[in-house]
């Protein structure tokens, strides 16, 4: 079995061959009944240590086995963004391991060892921080293991540690021509003292960082053996599906399960706080029984507004000033003096994350603890929420983090919504057998936790020379962070920093600026969506700047260069993208380019979109050139992949996606209504990475924000018209 199958679970040999086998591959994974017991020992836990005394485990992140394996314990979930390649790249670099001896294992939920260093005592993945917060930590982890191997070899060979080298997983003493593999030294090295200080490599000596290391998860994700939550199976496991209320705020009144209980395979049906749960021996029985339920909902307190109502209210709100997010100079004075005033407004719908794998979770209750298997993104928050639900201490909630089929922010739910639902089902069932909660695509799309609907108004003053003298930006949208664990840290004086990020810190040199914010509350649950506030602020600011350039007759790249003189890294990506995209050269009839540059999660990205506008006003995005500066490029191909995917995710929202409410009902429930980007809409993509020795910064999200403004600006370059409502229409105005 390829090692990557095991990476999310446990190093113990608990996976059994599937019940059907065919072409030489192991087909299907079926867990034996002793699994729960075996899994109670996570990496670093006492029983695991007993079973593996001979291995070298110098810290919480590296384990070197006598079988010559180097296991990296990943504290960040792998949901496509490449952590299970990027994190090991850093360790392998300082350890000088061979890439093919690397294995990856998900860390258990334990914030005392595996917290996100950017988030305090909290374990979780988000804000494009996985590599950024791990870089020093994992360099040290690798270097520590390396030092212990060297010290052990020095003693064994009776030579000085300085005379020993490590290359590609082999410890060498050149003078005496002696060498040992890591595995051969693991036991000896485990007896060495853990060094207090280690020397880190100079970036000039890097052999992995900045080079190409193959993803550790490609093989298992190309032959069907990678295990996701949906794939977890225990012999006596039950599947749960839940009938959820039809509108936000609706409650269960009563239900009749007479017909539902007749469905073969149904075990139990009961009410839980979030709806009516059906337990059955498999998914299809559970789903059929759910369809047969007769449920009365109490919708008296439900939210009954439509998206258009919300937008109208936001427009009214925008007539009044909001809470000040940033202010500099005197905007009012500048508008009085203005030669010309330019204004525009922008409208953004709710967006669903629509991860490829809908939300799901496997849970098993034990006497005084519980265990979960799923793609946990915020282990600490989920641990706490489940503990509260079940009346347990958080450390009694054991989480096995699996691969997740995408997240884009969704799985870091501030309330742990679907995880808590699983806990409530287990609790109400009174069963100690494992239960797999499965959401259908419809459950997933209708559940809320959307990117908020937003409305922006911008106004600029321009003097007689065409210079921008004032910039006023008003944002109206729900606060994502209010009421979450991050409120205290990131909401100040009525300003949710994620509502105004990218707008309140606009890099352009404009003497008078004012940014303010209205944060109305709505019962529609909302959440961070890949790049969060930048999903709307990059669009409004970067399109508006082009609208100004258009009005004053300046080239959009030239105008940005003038305004970014104090921001070399913005300029760097701007110039690189423009150069690589042949900015300024003609593309021919009906074709045009648009550019946008935006910093998010401490990374700088510029994107140039090339579009064709057809005679019938349909259009296509043909090519996107991306320049990114994310500090030192740990794994360039993963960065390229994240730029392609992040851009594509933003392009999807530009061209296709919207969640709309009608009388409080969400109008989209599956991919027929909630349109997403498909292959035939995918442009050619070119990615250029700025060379840098700065500390690494995020790549999962920063590719997303610039694409919408780049496309809108490109269309305007052809048609002269800027679009203000997302998503763009199929036929341009």
């Amino acid at each position: 079995m390829p090692q990557s199958e095991l990476i999310n679970l446990s190093r113990r040999n608990f996976l059994k061959a599937g019940v059907v086998s065919g072409t030489g591959l192991t087909l299907g994974i079926y867990f034996g009944s002793s699994l729960a017991e075996e899994l109670t020992s996570g990496p670093g836990h006492a029983s695991a240590e007993l079973a593996n005394q001979a291995q070298l485990e110098p810290n919480a992140f590296v384990r070197i086995g006598t079988d010559n394996s180097v296991t990296i314990i990943a504290k960040h979930i792998e949901f496509g963004q490449g952590t299970h390649t990027g994190l090991p790249t850093i360790v392998a670099e300082e350890l000088d391991a061979a890439w093919d001896q690397i294995k990856v294992e998900s860390a258990p939920a334990d914030a005392s060892r595996y917290n996100n260093l950017h988030w305090g005592p909290y374990q979780g993945t988000g804000g494009s921080s996985a590599i950024a917060n791990s870089y020093e930590q994992l360099r040290n982890a690798g270097a520590t293991a390396r030092a212990m191997l060297i010290n052990a070899a020095a003693k064994l060979w009776e030579v000085s540690p300085e005379s020993i080298l490590i290359q590609q997983g082999v410890v060498l003493h050149k003078e005496s021509n002696r060498s040992l593999k890591f595995g051969e030294l693991a036991e000896l090295a485990s007896k060495e003292k853990i060094p207090e200080k280690v020397t880190l490599k100079s970036p000039n000596d890097y052999v992995y960082i900045g080079k190409q290391a193959a993803r550790t998860d490609t093989a298992s994700k190309s032959n069907g053996t990678a295990i996701f939550t949906q794939d977890i199976q225990f012999p006596d496991m039950l599947t749960a599906v839940v009938a959820h209320p039809p509108r936000f705020g609706a409650k269960l009144k009563s239900f009749d399960a007479t017909n539902a209980k007749k469905v073969a395979g149904v075990k139990d049906i009961f009410a839980i706080p979030s709806g009516v749960a059906v337990l059955a021996k498999n998914f299809w029985s559970a789903k059929k029984a759910r369809d047969a339920l007769e449920i009365q909902w109490d919708e008296s307190n439900s939210f009954t507004k439509s998206s258009q109502d919300i937008l109208n209210e936001y427009k009214t709100l925008a007539k009044k000033p909001g809470a000040t997010a940033y202010s500099n100079g005197s905007v009012d004075e500048a508008f009085k003096q203005a030669n010309e005033t330019i204004s525009a407004s922008y409208e953004f719908p709710f967006l669903a994350h629509a991860t490829m794998e809908p939300m799901n979770c496997v849970i098993q209750l034990n006497n005084d603890s519980c265990e979960l298997w799923y793609g946990s993104q915020t282990q600490s928050g989920d641990q706490f929420a489940v503990a509260q639900t079940l009346g347990l201490a958080p450390e009694k909630v054991k989480i096995n983090t699996l691969f997740a089929g995408g997240s884009f922010g969704r799985r870091a739910n501030p309330t742990g919504d679907y995880v808590v639902e699983a806990a409530n089902i287990a609790k109400a069932s009174k069963l100690s057998t494992p239960i797999k909660l499965v959401w259908t695509r419809e459950d997933d799309t209708l559940a809320g936790y959307y990117r908020p609907l937003n409305y922006h108004e911008l106004k600029a003053a321009v003097d007689a020379t065409g210079t921008i003298t004032a910039w006023q930006h008003r944002i109206v949208g729900q606060s994502i962070l209010t009421g979450t664990a991050f409120e205290e840290m990131l909401v100040k004086d009525g300003i949710d920093s994620t509502s105004v990020e990218g707008a309140a810190n606009l890099p352009y040199s404009i003497p008078n600026m004012h940014v303010d914010l209205h944060s109305p509350t709505l019962p529609v649950p909302i959440q961070w969506w890949r790049s969060v506030g930048h999903t709307h602020t990059a669009l409004s600011t970067e399109v508006f700047l082009d609208e100004i350039a258009h009005k004053v007759g300046k080239d959009p790249v030239e105008l940005r260069r003038e305004l970014l003189k104090k921001h070399p890294r913005h300029l760097g990506v701007l110039n690189l993208a423009a150069e690589k995209a042949n900015w300024g050269s003609s593309l021919g009839k009906n074709r045009g380019r648009g550019i946008a540059v935006h910093k998010s999660f401490n990374s700088y990205v510029a994107e140039v979109a090339e579009v064709t506008v057809n005679e019938n006003r349909t259009f296509s995005v043909d090519k996107v050139t991306i320049a990114v500066d994310c500090g030192i490029a740990i794994n360039p191909d993963v960065i390229r992949a994240q730029m392609e995917g992040g851009m594509g995710y933003g392009l999807c929202a530009t061209l296709s996606s919207a969640i709309t409410l009608k009388d409080g009902y969400v109008e989209q429930s599956n991919f027929n209504g909630y349109q997403v980007l498909r292959m035939n809409q995918m442009p050619e993509v070119e990615v250029h990475i700025v060379e840098s020795n700065e500390n690494p910064t995020g790549v999962g999200e920063p590719g997303t924000p610039p694409i919408a403004p780049a496309v809108i600006n490109a269309i305007a370059a052809v048609t002269g018209k800027f679009h203000h409502t997302m998503p763009l229409p199929n036929k341009l105005a």
């Binding site: 059907v20 072409t23 087909l27 994974i29 994700k221 991860t355 490829m356 997240s407 995917g645 292959m679």
Partner: protein, 151 residues
């Protein structure tokens, strides 16, 4: 009792005849490489072959597969599938990976029908397979890479 032939093996299980093939494959045959994404033939994650033709198993009842040859990602063995999987590896196509079984089933079927597909052929054949991580540029490139290696 329904009897099916999956990856050249006969297997019987107790399910209703209207059960979609997808759930019989996953929950009864325990072959979990084939994924659920939408249940309405909109995303392609559940793509398998029925008598060597790609179909969406989420809307195909088991009754329609009785007496036919079912192939899932676990049962791929053609030279086209091997070329596709090698190209996937070479270009590190997958991100989250959840859509990739379906992508590989579709891409292999494409190569069986068309030895050297161009971008338009690829887009036309593959647009029923959604990838929310948007790995489309690499899928395109990997299909061409596989086609090249098959000549």
């Amino acid at each position: 009792m329904v009897s099916l032939n999956i990856n050249n093996k006969d297997i019987s299980f107790e399910v209703d005849e209207d059960t979609p093939l997808l759930w019989a494959i996953r929950d009864e045959a325990h072959l979990t490489g084939t994924k659920y994404g939408c249940g309405l033939a909109l995303c392609g994650a559940c793509t398998i072959y029925l008598d060597n033709q790609p179909i969406r198993s989420c809307i195909t009842p088991v009754a329609a597969a009785v007496g036919k040859k079912i192939t899932t990602i676990e049962g791929l063995e053609s030279k086209e599938s091997q070329a596709i999987q090698q190209a996937w590896k070479k270009l590190d196509v997958p991100q989250c990976g959840y859509c990739q079984s379906g992508q590989i089933m579709s891409a292999t079927a494409l190569l069986k029908n068309n030895k050297s597909p161009n971008d338009n052929d690829i887009d036309a054949f593959m647009s029923g397979n959604i990838c929310r991580c948007v790995t489309y540029v690499r899928i395109r490139a990997a299909i061409k890479e596989a086609a090249k290696n098959l000549v």
